[in-house]
Symmetry: C2
Subunit: 690 residues, 2 copies
Amino acid sequence: MRPQSLVLALAALLPGAPVRADEGMWTFDNLPVARMKASYGFAPDAAWLHRLQVSTLRMSGGTASFVSRDGLVLTNHHMGRAFIQQLSTAGRDFIRAGFAAGSREQELRIPGAELQMLVATEDVTAQVEKATAGLAEADALVARRNAISAMIKAKEASGLTWQPVTLYHGGQHWLYGYRKFTDVRLVAAPEMQLAFFGGDADNFTYPRQNLDFAMFRVYENDKPYHPEAWLSPAAPPLRNGDLTFVAGHPGATYRQETAAKMAYARDTGIPARVASLKRRKAVLEAYAASGDEPRRLAATTIYGFDNGIKRLEGMLSGLVKPGNLEGVARAEAELRARVAQDPALKAAALDSWNRIVAALARQKELLGDAPLAGDREILGSDLLARALLLVRMPVEMDKPATKRLAEFGEGSLKATRERLLNPAPVSLELETVKLTAGLTDAVAVMGADHPSLKAVLAGRTPEAAARAAMAATKLGDAAVRKALMEGGTAALAACQDPLVVLARTLEPLNRAVRERSQAEVQSVLDEHGGRIATARFKVYGTSMYPDATSTLRLTYGPVATYPANGTLIQPFTTFYGLYDRAASWGPEASAGAWALPQRWWDRKDRLDLATPFNFAYACDTVGGNSGSPVVNAKGELVGLNFDSNIEAQAGYYIYDGTTKRSIAVDVRAIREALVKIMDAAWVAAELDGR
Amino acid sequence: MRPQSLVLALAALLPGAPVRADEGMWTFDNLPVARMKASYGFAPDAAWLHRLQVSTLRMSGGTASFVSRDGLVLTNHHMGRAFIQQLSTAGRDFIRAGFAAGSREQELRIPGAELQMLVATEDVTAQVEKATAGLAEADALVARRNAISAMIKAKEASGLTWQPVTLYHGGQHWLYGYRKFTDVRLVAAPEMQLAFFGGDADNFTYPRQNLDFAMFRVYENDKPYHPEAWLSPAAPPLRNGDLTFVAGHPGATYRQETAAKMAYARDTGIPARVASLKRRKAVLEAYAASGDEPRRLAATTIYGFDNGIKRLEGMLSGLVKPGNLEGVARAEAELRARVAQDPALKAAALDSWNRIVAALARQKELLGDAPLAGDREILGSDLLARALLLVRMPVEMDKPATKRLAEFGEGSLKATRERLLNPAPVSLELETVKLTAGLTDAVAVMGADHPSLKAVLAGRTPEAAARAAMAATKLGDAAVRKALMEGGTAALAACQDPLVVLARTLEPLNRAVRERSQAEVQSVLDEHGGRIATARFKVYGTSMYPDATSTLRLTYGPVATYPANGTLIQPFTTFYGLYDRAASWGPEASAGAWALPQRWWDRKDRLDLATPFNFAYACDTVGGNSGSPVVNAKGELVGLNFDSNIEAQAGYYIYDGTTKRSIAVDVRAIREALVKIMDAAWVAAELDGR
């Protein structure tokens, strides 16, 4: 019996387990030890866990790890891409050509880079509960914040950076203490073409051939940092069926949403978003078809739509798969029955399921107004959103901070100002097409007779309205935006820029839609979602894992095939596969998505083409696990997580162990590339501890 | 704009075309020339078509072609596999090791092999219609048969073998005249492991790496035959987007079924068959898990279930795809409207759609009896089916031939006797498990309280009933079956073999189910399906292609990618891909499905690994196109059709050009393998015309 079958078979035997085998992003202090031992005859001990914890690093939006005694750090190329870009100049394009320091002296310091190591965690649930005991909800909110702030202040002397962490949607409160590293230098990175081989087409898919790694080094006092622990490559070769573990910082999951919310996402929310993206994409594609320069200009936006559609359709595939939502509903029915049996829980949460159903019905009614909502983009246009910020700023800044719209509140004001002043050039042509697309979608969603939309279009077609707004606007110029921002009410009132005029028309419409959605839908979903989450934690406690919160988690599962495309998918790919796809697509297909840089052809015969390249494995990851180390049961490095398959996108809502697979770069591929192609044998030797 | 997009765009412009661009298995005399020219700026002329027609050969269940002036023949390994097996001996296993004649003298003659070349076709519709004019349906049937027999008899002097061909479900009647070749010799074949690389798992899927070819030679008078025309490899390399053509003998399609029949297949027929296969497979798998010998014994049966499930789920995927059945319904509504406008058609066929709906409703009611039907197998058991034949034979043979059950009729009696006498050993253990599976499924479908099933089980579990029937039976012995068959009524009546006893119980039950289904469902579907088909032909004539009939057809379309698995699928694979899958799966996965024979490792470095291996292309093929030559617009050989992707299985019912792809072996891979691995450079040189 293969390990995978064994896992599933054992899972079926576990009585009343609220999660299925291998599911879960567990905190290091609360692993499902019994289940791990039953499935694999192994569960990590405290020393194993500590070593992995202090080898694992957090970086903005993802994960990295120490991989040598001298502070060498491994993460994804796509995690380090902004740094690599930042170090590139016109003459040395490390994104295109890759980079490898010839020695430590040639490593390149990255201004502003930061890595964090989690070194202390403290459960302060009891203190927080004590501070809030007996208080009404509004008072409790303030008391909780104050208690946490006081506890963090008391820890200042530790030298660590402390952050509050809420788990189980409020079931537990923790303080996590990080050690920060700010001298980070680039050691080696392959060409982006290798790191992102197959481009947007292959994104979120498998089989894959992505060398998605980059290596950095942490320095302290201008010397390589010597970490307490680091990960070294495994000696025994990783094989299909081998147990693996991933440490990392998964960002967000929605697995504890109610069945009604998932059904809404399946039947209404996701289909509506996909339909809008497709409508907007069609407008961009028609524009792109008009010439080479339009095609170039529109490419990133179209790819963005494609990837959005791909991820949403992946999520949907899990929600529509027969049995999945039924499983959620069964688990929910069990929880509701337990809640109903406990007077306190019953009073607090039993009605919450109904309240959520009512709020979702209201949300559906409000869908017809949705195109006028939004803040990052309004009707598809970033520049129109910035015009709206300018129009609102004088009004909002006259209010107390707590009464303003979120983007002018304390936490966001700085970023809002920076966004307005950002000097990056704006293509008014592209903004015209994007606004046309947004208005076209709005007509489809709202109907041409919707009074708000009629006010915006004023009898014009979407394209004519967009052209009128963008043709004569000066807001593409950062200096003009700055003058308007600093000119206050008077400057704004005098301004007849057509984009400002359009934003003035939109202001009350956008505000009304946002406020209604917040008051009638979002606040109800938040409040009652929180009540259900609290009730669930009181019933099941830590036998469940908490939904992901961008904090350190451990997940486990075997290297594994899965059924797709009518066959079984290969658990590993090899360098043969890289050359197969490059040769079979040729260098020009999909704008060179499967092209290989010349040195990969010139040096091909140096490679052992049978070297494992990427592998699929059944650890339970989501976005935020990018750059996570993958280790074997001995805690040895076997891979570098970088993506998951299309089926895994469903995992934001529902875990389906038969098809959800994470994807890693095999550490053997990294070593092979460093030595044979990248002229960085010394880095490979350091990785190997030599 | 890529060719594929162009095709789709043009298809949208064609007014009222009853088929979509590139759809269709066209007869050589009736190509959609205008559409081909509009899509590709090219349509074959008469000389081009004649050359391809006489280069193409028919063989049992598939297709082959002449590929040299000296009568070299190319087809699939899986088409020639029985011949290769037949020539193998214990000491020389050509299935395992492959075969390559060192010279023409070493070519191996295959007793019983036969190839047919279509050299003449004659439309006899007018004669048939004249012979049947004014006759009632039953008389017309006889008159039609007689007229066709007389016309064939009159052609005896031609030396050809003439066969009647009915196209458009009766809209046209043709006579096809074949020249037969009976001296066929094996020239070269790779190892089956290469021809069927990836085994049952990869069957019906793509990307693929199958060297599914074998080469034969036709002799006449002990000398190589010199055909009038043959196909030679293309000089310009085949590329993504290039137009291709396939000549071959597609077996059967159901595209002219009514929307109601397709909806029945989607909602009831196929799901019920899949569910039964899965239930039976589960029983076989439980048995297989009990040890190595059971696993070996059950493997072929389980693979059979898997492939059945795979093909049915592929068919289903097309029926459930949004828009597909709606398209069928729209076309049908248009046809019904046209039928309603014509008094003669209206009288003949307008009610037929309703009659089919009613018959399907009855079919659904009868589904609960279905497990007792069947003739090849009864309740999953081949041996039980043979016992039933024995029980029935004396009774049936006392009737006139036209009144007997089909398997005892004139056309089938010989095969039925051979089946009973077949001396191949029977595993009673496997028959026990298969009967257990069949009875288990019957309980699920019929309910344990169904009186017929209660009679069969007699209070026992499925397993106990199966064991009782198989434990003591002697029918596994061909001599025992022979004695019973020849002993007639008396021997049968005296026989207390438990399988015969069970067959006696089943006899009236099986007969009743079959007769009721024939009388109340099948006859109605046949009659009214025929009426609708005739009406359709009268409305659309030859602007449509006829459903497949195992006769020569031409289909066309470009080499093309398609969207699947979250990405775009590579139009070609290469030898790199072969080694990628072999290396990444390893030699042991799935019983060696992706293992490579040793010489493929030993001689790997001789190969140009970038050589195209298989390719996906948008020609419209089905089963029967196995072994079909794929040619370019110049009529040059570019590939050898061998399969289609999982999405194409839907094409039995509905053509979907966005994802349906045929799969061919690239002729460059055949040449590369002959020269570099198979020690058959002289064959490659002959292929190249050198």
